[in-house]
């Protein structure tokens, strides 16, 4: 019974964080930017066709996006209510975590939609920027400027420890294939993170107007998120495996829900807390602003 109550509390927290709190924070930020930095003064921030965003249509789009999140929260509450009414009991052998994971994926969909739109926005900004004078800081950007070697090797060390754990525990005939797939999968994810960071450090800026200081701050934040995410992924795999080993599979749904929330807190939450609107230099988006300083 206590496991069930724990699961309900954790799942409720997941619904609130991923579908109400963080989307609410994001929508609030968008509204703040639209009101404080309007297109008539900060034209570079609104490349066509995204200039509509400051109009009523844009405001209604933000509202609709938030409504979509509320609908997903409603779905989660419905699932929870159905579980309570049907007298659901978590399977002691585990397996129910797949439903928690699937619901978390649904919760992340609106955030991915926002991410895709941001990428398109930046792409339009870069097109607009093409005909303008361009400036650059005469300072080399290096990987170690944005991530400390200690953090990077810590993430690598934890991955290797996780790999050693799995290789020691699950290399029997029947488990070998699944173990190797898990290790290669997580290895590929970590490699992807590393390549993404390298690309962002050495590649072109997403937002061409962004000041050098803001760019560096964004890269440091991204590096922190990737390192934390890598460590969390390795840790959660070992924890769920330990839960299985000690016949505590019944906690798997709770662990997966905690993991999903952890990812959200240390990506979106960290981003919000480390970068307030006041921290960002919006003067670079003024139409009368010179090249990026």
């Amino acid at each position: 019974m206590s496991v069930l109550i724990l699961f309900y509390i954790v799942f409720l927290s997941q619904i609130y964080l991923l579908s109400i709190y963080f989307p609410g924070q994001l929508a609030k930020r968008v509204r703040q930017v639209l009101s404080k930095y309007p297109p008539d003064k900060y034209g570079k921030l609104y490349p066509p066709p995204f200039d509509y965003f400051a109009s009523r249509e844009g405001v209604s789009r933000v509202r609709n996006w938030q409504l979509l999140n509320f609908a997903i929260a409603g779905l989660g509450l419905g699932i929870l209510l159905a579980a309570v009414l049907s007298g659901y009991q978590p399977d002691p052998m585990g397996g129910d975590e797949i439903f928690v994971l699937a619901y978390a994926m649904i919760q992340f969909v609106p955030l991915f939609m926002a991410e895709i739109m941001t990428a398109k926005w930046f792409s339009r900004m870069r097109q607009e920027y093409a005909g303008r004078p361009k400036s650059a800081e005469l300072q080399p950007r290096k990987l170690w400027d944005v991530v400390s070697p200690l953090n990077l090797f810590l993430a690598l060390g934890i991955y290797l420890a996780m790999a050693a754990w799995f290789l020691q525990q699950h290399m029997g005939e029947s488990e070998r294939g699944a173990t190797l797939i898990t290790l290669f999968g997580l290895g590929a994810m970590n490699l992807g993170y590393f390549l993404l960071l390298l690309h962002r450090v050495h590649g072109r800026k997403n937002d061409p107007y962004k000041s050098h200081a803001d760019q560096l701050h964004e890269l440091k934040l991204l590096a922190s998120i990737l390192v934390i995410s890598s460590i969390a992924a390795s840790t959660i795999l070992v924890l769920t495996d330990m839960a299985d080993m000690f016949v505590l599979e019944v906690f798997d749904p709770v662990l997966i829900s905690v993991f999903a929330q952890f990812c959200a807190v240390f990506s979106i939450g960290l981003g919000f807390s480390k970068t307030t609107i006041e921290d960002i230099d919006f003067e670079v988006y003024r139409e009368d602003a010179g090249p990026v300083v």
Partner: protein, 129 residues
Amino acid sequence: MQVTINIDNPEPAFAQLTAQIKQGVLGGSLNPGDALPSIRQLAQDLSLNPKTVAKAYRMLERDQVIESKGYRGTFIHQNAMAGSTHDLAAWVHERLTKTIAVLRDAGATDSEIRIAFGNAMNQQISKGT
């Protein structure tokens, strides 16, 4: 220090870049030993072809304004201040202007001068000098 490239400027991008780096050295914004971004990074940031930035770096290296230290990167040269005051392009322009004046005084037409200059250049190139 920042560099700015204006594509509407009739001066070629590599020349704008070399001029601004030299100005940075003369103005004290760039000091001997300061690290410079890689060719790739600067080309990305300025949306230029890497060959353009490489050409600017080659010119600056020739004038001893910057020096390449292999994999460690590119740095401001110890003699950068002296190198930045020396404008080879301006010197070439001045010498050519004087030479053209001498040739014109001798009665050579502009067409003859152009053809002779082209031939001389081609001869040098074919010699590999």
